[in-house]
Point group: C2
Chain length 320, copies 2
């Protein structure tokens, strides 16, 4: 990536204003990468603004400078530089921002294989996480990784590698983790903040949802269902349950796991996870959703039983 | 540890027979360390025997040479060398083997802080895992870490660090993990073998057990209960549920999590987990159990309700 690094360096050195943009429904990688990149720019003397249409999920708000992230850009504001992180496509940034209006030069930093290279400079590589690219940028700039930057990068790293469990975990991922410890982070402290945030009602809801487990006849597809009634009974938000689908995937022999979530106003969200044989990104795309080969999602505006019927039928059409 | 390494090297070079011994109720670290050490000895031209009174748990049987582990030693058999791995005390090896009878020289390799230094040579250091010490031994002997040895070491590493989540995870732990990838392992493949082994009835039982969640008035202690009736309904063994207690610990604000398991024949087992403020090793010791500061266990021969009452009362006596 040294050619891009050169071009990015020139852009960073000449710009006088910058906006960093995360994707919709931001995850640990987009927030962590955004904040770490902000520290790189700050080190270079450029104080960036931060934009995320959906804000910062509560679980990531302990990260330094998370409070600087805004969900709006001042009207008519224009930046020398707009840097998108972890977004495979312009559409993933939301519809309240028009990149070409808000910035003169667009830098697209991402690790998704289906990235549409929408930037003026595209730094797109299939690393574990966008954070791994941000880390490499910091190295390119010969910047010291301080504890604050390391925290942001570590959160991004563990959330996008399933805590080093996914296939995207490489030797470089672990070497990076070793250096982040060297920079002063405690993996235990961060893991606790990221993973140990459940509440008693959440555990009860988790139990109730797990109890709805169903499987296809050949036991290769398995799914659980969370209804509005269940969510209201335990006063939880459905996104607090997304981790549940990983438990369903962990059943030996299951190739596709699904979580059906009944949201308010007739919206149904489906999360897909796969093991080795099925590309759930393709399945999600069939329903205008998207994501990765092994983790994807889609949104529906139909009754949950109808959604389940057609989604399960589609999944079973894919040999596993 | 270079002084011990020298002594161990001399012992390895002069011995003509060796037995490697794991502790009772073996975990990933004891099995992985045992098998990796066996490969070191084999590289040095010494084919060891392997002893584990409780055999090898099914989940670790995919490891190379796991089938060589026996749960008995031939009568009157004596070895030049007996090496214990991951055992803090002689009692942890079981009562079917008498070390002084079975071996001329005892080498004790372990990372538990309460190790009683029962060996002729004691290689005891507070690393993440015993595997980290075995890895250092391999380096000391300038041996190539091959894929098979790396698999054993990686399983040990992730099971003893909670997949890099516990406080014992250090820079060295990650550097070691990076080298194990270099040696050809797939973290995804191994993680799947270790973690994705649930069955549909196990998930259902998991859900039922989670549904029994209770907490102390101040919400700092939380526990779940698995009865014989539940185990029989889902045809599961209670040890398949131990991971459940980590979910209970993951509740924000909970300092001590417990799992009460009703075994056959009036036996009740309790697993303790703590976050930062309570030493659950002390609590377990009060009931003749043991373990680590943050993860311990004890066994009772009383009705489960009586056990719960007295254990919870004891836990609440510890300020948290």
């Amino acid at each position: 990536m040294s050619d891009e690094c050169k071009r990015i360096k020139r852009a960073f050195e000449t710009a006088e204003s910058a906006l960093i943009v995360s994707h919709l429904d931001p995850d640990g990688d987009s927030i962590g990468s955004m904040l770490a990149l902000g520290r790189i720019l700050s080190n270079l003397g450029l104080e960036a603004d931060y934009y995320s249409e959906d804000g910062v999920p509560k679980v990531y708000r302990f990260l330094p400078w998370a409070d600087r992230v805004c969900n709006r850009v001042a009207p008519d504001k224009s930046y020398d530089l707009v840097i998108t992180v972890d977004a495979s496509d312009i559409k993933r940034l939301g519809n309240k921002i028009v990149l070409s209006e808000v910035g003169k030069l667009i830098i697209n930093i991402d690790h998704h294989p289906d990235n549409t290279n929408f930037g003026s400079i595209n730094c797109v590589h299939l690393t574990s996480s966008t954070a791994e690219l941000i880390y490499k940028l910091a190295k390119y700039f010969e910047l010291k990784i301080d504890t604050e930057m390391a925290k942001c990068l570590y959160v991004a790293l563990i959330t996008d590698t399933g805590n080093f469990r996914y296939e995207n975990t490489s030797k470089e991922t672990f070497l990076m983790a070793a250096e982040l410890i060297e920079a002063g982070i405690s993996t235990h402290e961060i893991s606790t903040k990221i993973y140990d945030t459940r509440t008693v009602p959440m555990i009860k809801l988790f139990a109730a949802a797990m109890g709805t487990l169903e499987t296809s006849e050949n036991q290769k597809a398995a799914w659980v269902t969370v209804t509005q009634e269940m969510l209201q009974k335990y006063a939880c938000r459905s996104e607090q349950l997304v981790g549940l689908v990983d438990h369903i995937r962990s059943i030996a022999g299951v190739e596709v796991a699904m979580l059906f979530r009944e949201e308010k106003d007739g919206v149904v969200k489906v999360n897909f996870r796969s093991k080795d044989k099925v590309n759930v990104s393709e399945i999600a795309q069939k329903f205008n959703g998207g994501g990765h080969v092994k983790a994807s999602g889609a949104v529906f505006h139909e009754p949950i039983e109808a959604v389940k019927a057609k989604v399960i039928a589609e999944v079973l059409r894919h040999p596993s």
